[in-house]
Amino acid sequence: MTEPEKVVRLGAGMAFWGDSVKPAIEMVTQGNIDYLCCDHLAELTMSILNKQKAKNPDFGYTRDVIDLMRGVLPTCRSKGIRIVTNAGGANPQACAEAIADVATSLGIAGLRIAVVTGDDVADRIDDLLARGVDFANMDTGAELTDVRDLLTHASIYTGSEGIVEALDGGADVVVCGRVTDIALYLGPLIHEFGWSFDDWQRLGMATAVAHAIECGGQATGGLFDGDWSDIPSLESMGYPIAEIFEDGTAVITKTPGSGGRVDVATLSEQMIYEILDPGAYLTADVTADFTNIALDQVGENQVRITGATGRPRPDTLKATMGYRAGFIGEAQFTYTWPHACEKARRGIEFLQNRLARAEFLAQDTIVEYIGRNSAWGPSAIPVPNAPDIDEVVVRFAARCPTAEEARKVFTESVPLYNNGPAGVSGIGTRPPVKELYGLWPALVPREFIQQSVSWIEA
């Protein structure tokens, strides 16, 4: 008798920092998964986390991981579900210690937590520059000297090797910094199936599977644009689960009994989400080719995914660096019928004239008529002129070199309260001055980057 085909069940527990922890809790309880994979990091997140770490050396990880662990650890422990997360952000060690504290408070002993590091190169930039890594901006070609003194962090999108080492070593929880979202999924699969790190076909196929589910509810009916009003129970949406076979293909489903929908349409939208050339989806682990992906409905809320391929991984890794890029100042007012748009335009003119007198400095400004043209801009819909419109919200925003300049947007707009056109509301909130971070993408030869694994036991 032949043994049944091995299947590894990966669940996508979190899709971003601040995502609800409920789908993950339901998934570990009802989803029959082997691994819970949680992505907490977006492009901007690393800037924010590094800023928090600079203020307090115990911070710098996404603290939603505490609620997550409190909710899932007891069940994961009893069922043997292992957790892989990049919640470590800018401070994986502190994150792991916080998770250990949660385990202790729940009475869980003997939890093995692995900490995967090696992605943070902020302290190595001078050394790497000296070794010939130029950190030229991938998009613009600009030299790093333009922003060298303004950098807030430098992290490398690292791959799955560290996660595989941690799981091979018996980790119950793997805490990473800036690994790729895909690596959170490839790591457990390489560990389970024993794929080699140059098995490009399997890694490419599994990358497509990981891409399909790594944004959580966006695969199961969230943000769905097709027959969106037919998606059942968005409020209790289940997050996606991939049942992956030894060849890297999978059946994608979701937590049983949950809301949402997994079908060819919902997954098709997610397959094209945030990709560039589908023939060359570059990751730290493999160059995947999604061109000939096929999706087939094989049951209710069950879709088989096949057809992806892979080629050798790039010789370089992507660095994501943040730099301080000034401040944004914003003001927003609501104008009402009659002549709402005309009043709004006059209000903006009032603000612009006052800013000019205040010798306002800005690199760029924008005026949006929310409800008319804020989504697609004036090139799509020219400045509105609709005398019978019920109301319009007008928003002014400016990129400024200093916080002081950005604050002027607020102070110079306050007089609109009683000196500008009538029929205005919605002003007078606190000054919304926000620091801006630019992103500096660059490439670093992979031989300079080594992950390492350390251990904490709760």
Binding site: S47, S229, A265, E269, I275, G279, A325, T365, A375, S379
Partner: protein, 121 residues
């Protein structure tokens, strides 16, 4: 309800968009093979670039994923400096696809596949 005919991309496809730095990608998924053939024919990179106008400062490149009836448009310099820098309300490009859904398509012989009742803008 009267049968509506195809007048724009929304009658043939649904979509999704997002960001990678200052690049926005807009994916369209045709409702079926016939719709996909029409999309391929009518929704060229050139037309998409013209349709977005000043909203996109860079280039438009089109890619195909034929088995799922999808076209992917990659729009560079499309998000006012990217999600972390943009002054736009839609700084992550999440609704950029909806503008592409409004690109006119001249195919009055075909019934719209759009699932929801349409309403006038």
């Amino acid at each position: 309800m009267d049968t509506q005919v195809v007048t724009c991309v929304a009658d043939l496809a649904h979509g999704r968009s997002g960001d990678k730095g200052d690049t926005c990608n807009v994916g369209l998924i045709a409702y079926d093979a016939e719709c996909f053939a029409l999309l391929r024919e009518h929704v060229t990179a050139e037309r998409v670039a013209e349709h977005f106008g000043d909203l996109v400062k860079g280039t438009v490149t089109r890619y195909e994923m034929p088995n799922i009836h999808a076209l992917n448009f990659v729009l560079t310099r499309a998000l006012d400096g990217g999600g972390t820098m943009s002054l736009r309300s839609d700084h992550l490009g999440k609704v950029m696809y909806t503008w592409l859904l409004r690109l006119p398509i001249d195919a009055p012989h075909l019934a719209s596949r759009r699932p929801d009742p349409r309403w006038e803008s």
